[in-house]
Symmetry: C2
Subunit: 119 residues, 2 copies
């Protein structure tokens, strides 16, 4: 049982759209990710997903609106809700979601990560 410093963990990887597991509790995972550019439209049929911005600015498009998140802001995307993350510049994000959550949800493409590293 050790503390996790986000700054140290973010220094360990540079690839975008590739969440890393940094903690697990109650069947949920804490993941860190760097986003830049445009992701794909997708939804998670069974999992609510929390995006917390650690640094930078994250835009999430929904079918009916767009939400922009800055540092120390979060949003909970309920299961079944289509969303598309976008970041003009690099953004550092902490995700809180069930361990079973696939990054691209119901959409499979070259961005899909079936196995996540634990860092």
């Amino acid at each position: 049982m050790n503390k996790i410093a986000l700054t140290e963990k973010f220094a360990l990887f540079s690839e975008y759209w590739s969440p890393k597991i940094v903690g697990e509790l109650n069947g949920q995972s804490i993941k860190l990710a760097k986003f830049k550019g445009e992701f794909v439209w997708h939804k998670h049929d069974n999992e609510d997903e929390l995006f917390f911005v650690v640094s930078g600015m994250l835009t999430i498009e929904f079918r009916d609106k767009t939400v922009t998140l800055n540092k120390d802001e979060f949003i909970i995307v309920p299961k079944g809700v289509e969303h598309k993350p976008f970041a003009e510049d690099e953004v550092l994000v902490m995700l809180f979601e069930p361990a079973t959550t696939l990054n691209t949800g119901d959409t499979r493409n070259e961005l899909t990560k079936d196995e996540l590293d634990r860092i």
Copy 2:
């Protein structure tokens, strides 16, 4: 579905050791709390608990060690592990834990909060 800005939420309350619910997902709650001074020794028999420091410095005593957390650092306290939070000065904390988690765990005293406000 709206974004939550931690700064705005923390401005809504001032009492210490009284977590407020700011989000819920997958049976888990996101809670914000202000700590200052010494809490009580306790454990949660069924829930792992995550403490994330938003601002300030949080010390958590365990029976075999003491961990100090600064901004953007977190620790996961596994179920069954006795702990006692302490903060010399005010610290702002975000908690991730099951909705069922009682703040004082297996210890009931004047700090116990059976009903949490949602802000």
